[in-house]
Amino acid sequence: MKATGAYEAVFTGERRAALDRVLERYPTKRAALLPALWLVQEARGWIADEAMSEVAQLLSLTAAYVKGVVTFYTMYRQHPVGRHFIQVCTTSPCGVCGAEDVVRAVLEHTGCGDLGATSRDGRFTVIEVECLGACGFATPVLIDDDFIESVTPETVPALLRRYA
């Protein structure tokens, strides 16, 4: 989707310098695409169409190409989300350990109601994700960049209080 209001370029100043450092690691500009998209998402919380065009121009690609890549990788967000983005693993190994109860607890305590929805106060968005790769620590939950292990429905309220 498109950004609301006038679009401000992401890659200025320090972020532009960061992208230049990334470019040094690869023999092609295209290879900097995933890192560049991460820089956009860190800066804006999601990746708007305009940002895809900006990245495309910097890396000599087309916006169509960039969009094809963005839509392939599920961690790139194509829509704005709440201040805190919560990802709960529900794949089988966590599923048999009660991951779905954790999801219910998170939805209830964030007030999001539905998966993918943002709470009315704009604080949280919750989604289910496939395997987070910490199956021995069921149920893992990723809140923004914090990877939290062994979450149970009981520990959810205290956990959420850490995110204003």
Partner: protein, 435 residues
């Protein structure tokens, strides 16, 4: 060791020795524990001799395929005509597997050292460590270790004073299971959709950026310094009778066990013992029902098969399954196998890259049929249909994601047919709302 639990007597702790030891994460702490001695030793050898040592050790790929590591290195061109690359596969995404995560969290320098030795052996100057995007903590830790390694001169333009450059970068994934497939991983590094490539060409001829490339799993690379330090004979000796499967292996045990975690045992360890003794068996007096021993892509074992299964490459095949990545998923008697199998196929349907027809359409269709059965709307021919679709999805696509979706369906119907029949006949109440 069975981190986060205390090591068990029956473990053989090599890779996991410093799990839980925060000092081991630092350069100084790592050197104090003998770190980078293997790299120094390797740099004093001829690259071919390093490869030979690893080949001789019998080390096989720990990512899932079990391809002999040293042999893979020999595929790289001997005469260098342009850049060579090493890719470290840290995209650990196979449900049930979380061993590479612990290696990176606790012993990042072990990985860096292993990568550096491999780079020397295959004459690569650049290594990309492809870490899945969700692994925020391992990314931070490995990056800190890389920064230290550069600062200490392990890496950089004059690596270890060798006069030769060694550069290592993290490439962060962004949510795609299939990027753990080696050619998809290379596409992802190149800034493309993570689509597996048709082979040939093989990576050693034309890999990342079209240059000769070797891809190794984290656990494989982390084992290399030990082999260089202590010799191939020592490593080969770490097996229980089967010379084709050598060394130690980290098994990630999860699901319905009392002490889930990573356990390091020698190849050939009995699966039953791992679950019942090391992991403390089932919680709360439950009993074992089924087990997937090698990550979600391998066939399911029944209780009896689990108790007889030997954990090495050949032992698992003899039990009708595969060692895979060593992700052991345990189901106790409460598990609804139909539901669990549906949940696994849903994972594959979500992760299919969309290239091959069988996979793109077949994974999603399989989910729909299983959901229908779970909703009490199944019919007897559905099981034959599932098996036939599984046949059409196996061995016919670019990569094995489609096969991986089919494997639990086939083994599940074969071994737990009565559970499917109960939903179809109406003997069991629907687990899902009607479609």
């Amino acid at each position: 060791m069975g981190f986060p639990h205390k090591p068990h007597d029956k473990e053989t702790v090599v890779l996991s020795r410093y799990f839980g030891d925060p000092e081991a994460k630092t350069y100084d702490g790592w050197v104090k524990r003998g770190g980078y001695e293997a790299l120094t030793k390797a740099l004093s050898m001829q690259p071919a001799a390093v490869t030979e040592e690893v080949k001789e050790s019998g080390l096989r790929g720990r990512g899932g395929a079990g391809f002999p590591c040293g042999f893979k290195w020999t595929f790289m061109p001997k005469e260098k005509k342009g850049p060579h690359y090493l890719c470290c596969n840290a995209d650990e995404s196979e449900p049930g597997t979380f061993k590479d995560r612990e290696i990176m969290r606790w012993t990042p320098h072990a990985l860096i050292e292993g990568c550096a030795i491999a780079m020397y052996a295959i004459q690569a100057e650049v290594c990309y460590i492809y870490i899945r995007g969700e692994f925020t903590e391992p990314i931070r830790i490995v990056q800190a270790a890389l920064d230290e390694a550069y600062a200490k001169g392990v890496l950089g333009p004059n690596a270890m004073g060798s006069g030769k450059p060694l550069d290592m970068y993290i490439h962060r994934g962004a949510g795609a299971y299939i990027c753990g497939e080696e050619t998809a991983l290379m596409n992802s590094i190149e800034g493309r959709r993570g689509n597996p490539r048709i082979k040939p060409p093989f990576p050693a001829q034309s890999g990342v950026f079209g240059k000769p490339t070797t891809i190794n799993n984290v656990e494989t690379l982390a084992a290399v310094p030990h082999i260089i330090n202590r010799g191939a004979a020592w490593y080969k000796g770490l097996c229980l009778g089967n010379p084709k499967s050598t060394g130690t292996k980290l098994f990630s045990v999860c699901g319905n066990v009392r002490r889930p975690g990573n356990y390091e045992v020698t190849m050939g360890f009995p699966l039953g013992e791992l679950i019942n003794e090391l992991c403390g068996g089932m919680p709360n007096g439950r009993t074992l029902k089924a087990c997937i021993p090698g990550g979600s892509s391998v066939p399911i074992l029944t209780k009896e098969e689990t108790e007889r299964c030997i954990l090495d490459y050949e032992g698992c095949v003899a039990s009708g399954t595969m060692l895979g990545s060593g992700g052991v998923i345990v189901f106790d008697d409460r598990a609804d196998m139909v539901y669990q199998i549906m949940r696994l196929t849903k994972f594959y349907a979500h992760e299919s890259c969309a290239q091959c027809t069988q996979c793109r359409e077949g994974t999603a269709w399989t989910v729909r049929i299983l959901e229908r059965i779970l909703a009490g709307e199944g019919a007897p021919p559905d099981l034959d249909l599932l098996l036939d679709l599984a046949d059409n999805m196996t061995g016919k696509t670019i990569c094995v994601l489609s096969d991986s979706c089919a494997a639990p369906v086939v083994s599940g119907i074969k071994k737990f047919r009565e559970e499917f029949d109960a939903y179809i006949s109406g003997a069991k109440a629907p687990a899902l709302a009607r479609t």
